[in-house]
Structures are given as structure tokens and as C-alpha cells.
């Protein structure tokens, strides 16, 4: 079992890249510890800016830095960064097209027992509605590394959301084909497609394996980029497999399921089942328990897959 959290990978990768590129800077909102950025602050103090608990200010400052040639990474809890700062994200980052990378830490249900104030389950919906921002949810530590490397090369605004705790690997190494905006096919299949993002990719991969035992062949798409969305992969999946189940650590409204449905319904209508967090303050608990409660589990995905195919 992997014990390196994605936030640690982001810090290590940024230290490596920022040592070579002095324009890379990291900003935190009293969040250097929870973002695992303490080492960055220690090793590259001249490229580290503490803004205090001021999420509007941190994004505005980052935009000003970016407009002056810097490459800022804002590492702040996803729940605040995607809500408290959203007007600065819309105007100072997206509208002004500044090269700001928003790193939403402790995303989704990471702060499970702390309650709705600390959950970020609407962030994809909110960010997706703003033109010009790339949205990425890596599935594991290897993908996190690849995503950060890709973001450093890109000059566009982006929001990357990661969880707090280590997550099981879905890749054996970072050596695979990663491109922003291109889904990764984790498994081939013909009966249906499971499309997942972030930490739910693992659930999808395991579900496909369980279903294979039952004679159901599932394709698994890792939709690490929510925007720009890999529409071609979705349309292809709908055409070739005829059924889709989406999985996400996000509200059932406005996230991956909604994005996939928008593409499917306009191009190749097939049955789609959206699995995510119900439209309510999520039940408190560890994220694994909460995933299970809302049906983001191998057992539930398998059950729904069987039902979907029965109806067909």
C-alpha cells in the first residue's frame, strides 16, 4: 500500500522544477503544513509567499505575480479556494488569462468528519462554469507527478484538486502516456464503460475487475481532466459499449456525471448512471466510509452495472 500522499508529490515535484526555474513560486494561506509545502518554503524561501488566511487576496496576488512573469502555484484547501476566492478566479485568473495554477488541497471528502464547511463537493461544478480554466483530478501519486509536470509546461490557468491522505496506486509507475485533456483507458471492455476521476478511478478499476469475474466486460476511462473534456473518448465509449456509469467524489450535480451526460445526450444518447455525493450536506466520516455510504464502492457499482444491462 502506497503511503505517499499526492500533496507530498506536488511539493517534491515543484521543488525539483522550481530549482531549475526561478519564476515558479508557491503561495499558501496558512496552509503550508496541510499542503505539505513546508519543505518548499524551507528550501526555496525566495520563491515562497505566505499570504495568511485570506483566500481572496491569495488569488489576486497570484494573478499580479503571473502578470509580472512569475508562475504561481496557490496551495490552499479546495473548499475555500473554490468558493471564497471564486470571483478572483473568474476575473483575475480566467478573464485576465493569467498563468495561475490553483492547487486545491484536502479536496472532496478529505476533511470528512469536519463537516460541510470543509468539504469541496461543488468545486468542479463551479470551476467548470468558468471559461478558460483547465481542471485536473489525478488518480494517484504517479498521475499527480505527471499532471504537475504538464502544468508547469502549460501557460494556461488551471485548477488541480487532490485529497489529503495517501491513495492506492492505479499506475505502477509515472511512465505512461499522460496528456492534459486526454482520458486514459485503464481497461478495455465492450459491455459498458465506467468513467471516473480522481480517487474514484481506483473504485472503477476494481469494479471492472469484479464485473469481469461475472462475465461483464467493462471499459474504464480515467477522466483526469474535467476541462477540456475528452469528448471523443466519451462518444466512442457510448457508441461502442452502449452503457455508462460515472463515478466522482463530488456532488451528483455539475461534475463529471453532468459533463459526461451533456456530451452523451447531444451526440450518442445511451443510458448513463451518475454516482457521486447526494445533494445534501455529506454525512460525516472517513472518506472510505462516506464513499461506501453514497455507493462509490465495488459492490454498488457491480450491482448497478448488472441492473443496467438487464434493462437493455
Amino acid at each position: 500500500m502506497n503511503n505517499i500522499p499526492n500533496r507530498q508529490v506536488i511539493c517534491d515535484t515543484l521543488i525539483e522544477l522550481a530549482t531549475k526555474d526561478r519564476d515558479i513560486v508557491v503561495l499558501t494561506s496558512d496552509s503550508r503544513g496541510s499542503a505539505s509545502m513546508t519543505n518548499f518554503a524551507k528550501q526555496l524561501p525566495g520563491q515562497f509567499i505566505e499570504v495568511g488566511i485570506a483566500e481572496q487576496n491569495i488569488v489576486g496576488i497570484a494573478a499580479g505575480l503571473a502578470a509580472s512573469g512569475k508562475k504561481p502555484y496557490v496551495a490552499s484547501p479546495a473548499c475555500f479556494l473554490s468558493m471564497r476566492s471564486i470571483e478572483q478566479v473568474k476575473v483575475d485568473v480566467a478573464y485576465s488569462k493569467t498563468n495561475v495554477k490553483l492547487v486545491g488541497i484536502s479536496g472532496g471528502l478529505s476533511y470528512g468528519a469536519l463537516g460541510m464547511s470543509h468539504h469541496s463537493l461543488q468545486d468542479i461544478a463551479v470551476m467548470r462554469a468558468i471559461p478558460g480554466i483547465n481542471i485536473i483530478l489525478p488518480a494517484d501519486r504517479h498521475e499527480t507527478k505527471r499532471a504537475i509536470e504538464a502544468l508547469v509546461k502549460s501557460g494556461e490557468p488551471a485548477y488541480i484538486r487532490i485529497g489529503r491522505n495517501p491513495v492506492p496506486d492505479v499506475y505502477s509507475s509515472p511512465e505512461y502516456e499522460f496528456e492534459i485533456g486526454k482520458a486514459v483507458t485503464m481497461a478495455e471492455g465492450t459491455d459498458m464503460t465506467l468513467i471516473a476521476t480522481g480517487e474514484t478511478v481506483k473504485v472503477a478499476v476494481d469494479s471492472a475487475e469484479a464485473l469481469r469475474q461475472k462475465g461483464i466486460s467493462c471499459r474504464v476511462l480515467n477522466m483526469h481532466t474535467l476541462k477540456p473534456l475528452d469528448e471523443a473518448a466519451i462518444i466512442k465509449a457510448a457508441r461502442e459499449t452502449g452503457h455508462i456509469i460515472t463515478l466522482e467524489e463530488h456532488s451528483i450535480y455539475g461534475g463529471l456525471g453532468a459533463a459526461v451526460s451533456e456530451v452523451v445526450v447531444q451526440n450518442c444518447p445511451v443510458p448513463v448512471k451518475i454516482l457521486g455525493i447526494a445533494d445534501e450536506p455529506a454525512i460525516p466520516g472517513k472518506s472510505g466510509e462516506v464513499f461506501k455510504y453514497y455507493g462509490l464502492s465495488v459492490e454498488n457499482v457491480s450491482r448497478i452495472a448488472v441492473e443496467l444491462l438487464k434493462k437493455a
Partner: protein, 278 residues
Amino acid sequence: MINIEFLEEKAAQIRMDLLKMIYEGKAGHTGSSLSCVDILVALYYGIMRLDPANPKWEERDRFILSKGHAVEGYYCILADKGYFPKDELKSFSRFGSRLIGHPNNKVPGVEMNTGALGHGLSISVGMALAAKMDGKKYRVFTLMGDGEQAEGSVWEAAMAGAHYKLDNLVAIIDRNRLQISGCTEDVMALESLEDKWRSFGWEVVPADGHDFAQLLEAIGTAPKTQGKPTLVMAYTVKGKGVSFMENVAHWHHGVPDSEQLEMALKELSSQIGGACNE
């Protein structure tokens, strides 16, 4: 030596240009724009180091119009400085024009898109920090409204500016005491505003916002104290320069009709001799 008479006549000319532009475009924040023309003229003709032929010149001073609704005088000045053809001012507020009612960086010379209040100072803090990190000498100026001071994010940025000792940063408040629904002190009391800024660790310099000698001194010679950002409290009159628009909240975004335009232009043209043509 900067010629004060030149600046005064330039300001009258910019006021005439912006009134014509608002009349043509049938929209605009007339009073808000008139109140800060002298501040903008002082910056663009007397203080900032710029190269209009090379808007992205790395060493240029930066300006952020945080009170983005006062865009009309700003556009007229940028056109007058040669950032884009003056003729384009006629497209203001028209379908598809880049000269929209709030600054956007498609317009040469505009650094950042603004319009939502309370953003400009944070952006300016970022720019001033970047200059410090790179050892660059440019200064960063931002102009805020007084009504804007009710935005909490202004004070987040105020803390950061002092914390990082950004003496290359000058924030100016267009203190005309009027906002869209009335007197600032009735809407949400701001006073004692100078004390608030002082207590946040800024060097506060009051000035008559229509007196060029005072503006050049207050803004141009900053910082007076090493390691402190500067706040220039520019006391102004909303609608300044057109007597029937002065101190009337309605003119915040009132648009003159043809008769009012003619009266306003007549009053302003009487202030112009020949200093701008010399």
C-alpha cells in the same frame, strides 16, 4: 520640470473627450470618471515611466484601475498617449468593441481586467512582490474608489502590502465621498479612513486630488518612508469640472443628453488655452 499648466489643460481636454465618448456610447460612469481625471493625468503625464510604443516594456511602471467603472478617462488617456488610435474611442460600448465599460487587457496599455471592486490592490501587491523578487525598479500604482473601501479584500491586501514592506507600491483613493446610492458616510461609514490605513502600516499622504502640484508631490515622490507602502488619500469632487454634475450622486453613471453635453463642453473648453499644443 513638469508644466502644471500643461497638466491642467490636458485634464480639461480628457474631460471633454470622455464626455463625448459617453454621449456617443450612451453609457458610462460620468461622475466617477470626472472625479479621477486629474489623478490619472498626473500619473500618465507626470509620474509613470512608460513606453506607449512598447506597452509590455519590462521596466514600465504598472497601473491598475481598481475602480474599473471609471474607465472612460482611462481610455481617453491611453488613446491620447498613443496606445491605440484615438478614432477607436467612438466604438466605446458598441457591440463587439474592445472598449467596454470596464478595463480589459485586450486594450493596449491595460494591464489587467478589472471591474469587480476590491481586486486591484491584491493584484498590485502581486506585481510589487514580483518586482522585489526580481530586483526590478518599476513602481506599481493602483486607483481605488472610496465606496470600494467597504470590500473586505481591500484590507486583506492592505495587510499584505505592509507585511511585505512594499515601498514600490502606491495606492490612491479617489475620495469623492459619493457612491451610487448616496454619501459614503451614510451608506457605510468609512471615516476615519486615513487612520484605518495608517493603522494597517501604510504611509498615508493626503492631497487635494485636483491640485497637480500636490498630486505630483504625494504620488510622485513616494515612498517617503523606506519599507512602507504609500496610500495617497486624494480628496476629490465627484463630477469635477462640470459644475452641474459636481457632487450629484445621480451623475455616478448618468449620461448627458445633447444639451447637457454642449453645456459641459463649453465650460471645459474655457479652461483650455494653448499649453497642450506647445
